[in-house]
Amino acid sequence: MDNIAGTKPALVWVTRISVILLVLLWLLPTIGLLVSSFRDRDQITASGWWLAPFAVEQNFQFKASAGNAVEEDGLFVLRGDILPEDGATIERFGGTRSAPTAFAPGETADLRRDRFLTVQENGDFVYTSAAEITRDPNVYFSSETPPDFSTDNYDTILTSDNMDRAFINTLTVTIPATIIPILIAAFAAYALAWMDFKGRGLLIAGVVGLLVVPLQLALVPLLQLHNAVGIGQSFLGIWLAHTGFGLPLAIYLLRNYMVGLPKDIIESAKVDGATDFQVFVKIVLPLSFPALASFAIFQFLWTWNDLLVAKVFLPSNSESWVMTVKIADDLLGSRGGDWGILAAAAFVSIAVPLIVFFTMQRYLVRGLLAGSVK
């Protein structure tokens, strides 16, 4: 189509540039989070993540040890290096808390009462005083520190913050809640696709209707029911709930797919004497694999990412928190200002869905199309 009438080269370029801009716009927030999750806490507050590859100017305070002072020509002199690591340089320095960056490196700061401070660019300092140095003097300085990327935030979140527990809980909720509905739905979908009986159309319409029932309705009555039969707030309860809530979509997707299977195969098997059960297990189920995979991915992503059902059907103590609840109810409060930790926690929680998404995108797209295009 590139060479026919109706396409203009200028328009092609406009198209390309706008697509690039849109993609960048869509990626930017996630990249920001990813970069921040590897940055040191102080660096995050000192410069934006888009400046992460560059050195950061940060303010520091250094306490020189008074015990190292020596007496030279009637003056007490304290020497040392205030920069702990190489590669950094002093930008400004000062000797008082009120003016921490008053002097440029090489200058001599007059700290009154015959005390002087000089700091060189490489961090060497000389502090002189006419009186004996009894208290540790403070040196304030700002320095350019090189970018500092590390997995410290991930270490912290996974070892000390119970996020590993939440990760396992999420996995524990997700896997049974993904597997159990599939088989139940597959049998029902087969009946709705290939068996002839009264009320079939009505049932299909019912399933379509149930697709959009708001989950909010189910919360209070079902929690009461679970409490009444002794399940209460527990993992069993949330597996049952996710199974129930996932069934309409499962049945709908699978039926749409099974209806499209070639009629000849199924009919000739029946003519050869196969029962419905055999037809289902030996022919329809294997052929429906793509649809089963689509639904499994949907259900996996939905249960992994769910916050509402987990908040209601799981006990609200830190042993049972899944990752979404952990982030929303705990970390955002207790670690509210600690952006590096928050970013790392968010990445731990979205890593698995992203892997699933990029490896099985084909099935996901197919499932979406089967469920929506009419």
């Binding site: 697509v19 849109l22 068996m195 009986f197 209707g209 993992f235 309409p248 049945i251 929303a328 199309l369």
Partner: protein, 325 residues
């Protein structure tokens, strides 16, 4: 017992139980209740195949009945009782709710969400679908825009907390304001407009969904219609708006309604970003504020959501029935 082991046992019991049920119930039907032997095998086979669909359907129907149909009724009945659940108050919960300023704000905000989010997501999705249609690297671009679909609403909210942060060294939005010489603002606390900043998050997630479906629909348009229009001298914009869009109108409608339904369910974003403060409450988050505290009020809110969803539900069912004929 650790939840992991409990989970494994549940999988084995669940899957094994399902297989056992279907196998045993079919056997029971064929060999014991209506055996194909004896005095009248023909009638028995007919009867067995009359009953079999219901064997296949029973577990699913039971689970859906219990977890989705019963709650509609159960919630409605519960909403007629007071907080403790022992006193019938008629529509009292609804009356106090509609008199509550917070509920009216939530209702109004929810209408804003329902107006803006589906429209914006569908529009952007259509735009991306059309722009990437003939690009050789279109699939990579689409895949990247589709990616937020896999991220939880909580994760997405955190991602956008970084963008909106009220500090020009963290939030890129305030960094841009700083760059052009404006002071930092906390967009989540801007009265009224903060709702739109929250909507951006859901639009960011849902555009990919709209794009995938509309892109397939665009591919399905017969080439001849486009070619004929071009030969008749239509410019690219006319081809898009007059030839392509009308042909995919029904798909656009499906995308629009699907996102509308989603908007009415999502409480995560408001809950994570503002906790419903600063006038950003919407119905699902308003309901969660009452959950565990006043079940009467919580179920009343849930039922209001159900009533708002009802027209879409009816439309969906009619579409499905029309399609089956």
């Amino acid at each position: 017992m650790s939840p992991m082991i409990q989970g494994l046992i549940t999988i084995v019991l669940g899957v094994g139980g399902c297989i056992a049920y279907f196998w045993a119930s079919n056997l029971l039907l064929d060999k014991v209740i209506f055996p194909a032997t004896g005095p009248n095998p023909g009638r028995n086979i007919n009867r067995a195949s009359m009953w079999r669909p219901w064997l296949f359907l029973f577990p699913a129907l039971f689970a859906m009945g219990l977890y989705l149909v019963y709650p509609v009724v159960g919630s409605f009945i519960r909403s007629l009782y007071n907080r403790a659940g022992n006193d019938f108050v008629g529509f009292g919960n609804y009356e106090t709710m509609f008199a509550d300023e917070g509920f009216r704000t939530a209702l109004l905000n929810n209408f804003l969400w329902v107006l803006v989010v589906p429209a914006a997501s569908t529009f952007l999705g259509l735009l991306v679908a059309q722009l990437t249609d003939r690009l050789s690297w279109g699939n990579i671009a689409k895949s990247l825009i589709f990616m937020p679909m896999a991220i939880s609403f909580v994760g997405a909210s955190l991602i956008w907390k970084f963008v909106y942060a009220n500090d020009s060294d963290i939030g890129i939005l305030n960094a841009i304001r700083d760059f052009v010489g404006l002071g930092p603002i906390d967009v989540l606390q801007l009265p009224f407009w903060n709702n739109f900043f929250l909507m951006v998050i859901l639009i960011w997630i849902q555009t990919g969904f709209a794009m995938v479906i509309l892109s397939a629909a665009l591919r399905g348009i017969p080439e001849e219609t486009v070619e004929a229009a071009i030969i008749d001298g239509a410019n690219p914009f006319q081809v898009f708006f007059r030839i392509k869009v009308p042909q995919i109108a029904s798909t656009i409608m499906v995308v629009w309604t699907t996102i509308t339904i989603l908007v009415l369910k999502v409480f995560d974003i408001v809950y994570t970003m503002t906790g419903g403060n600063f006038g950003t409450e919407i119905l699902p988050s308003y309901m969660m504020a009452y959950m565990f505290r006043d079940d009467g009020r919580a179920t009343a809110v849930a039922f209001v959501i159900m009533i708002i969803v009802l027209p879409v539900m009816i439309w969906n069912i009619r579409q499905a029935r029309a399609e089956m004929r």
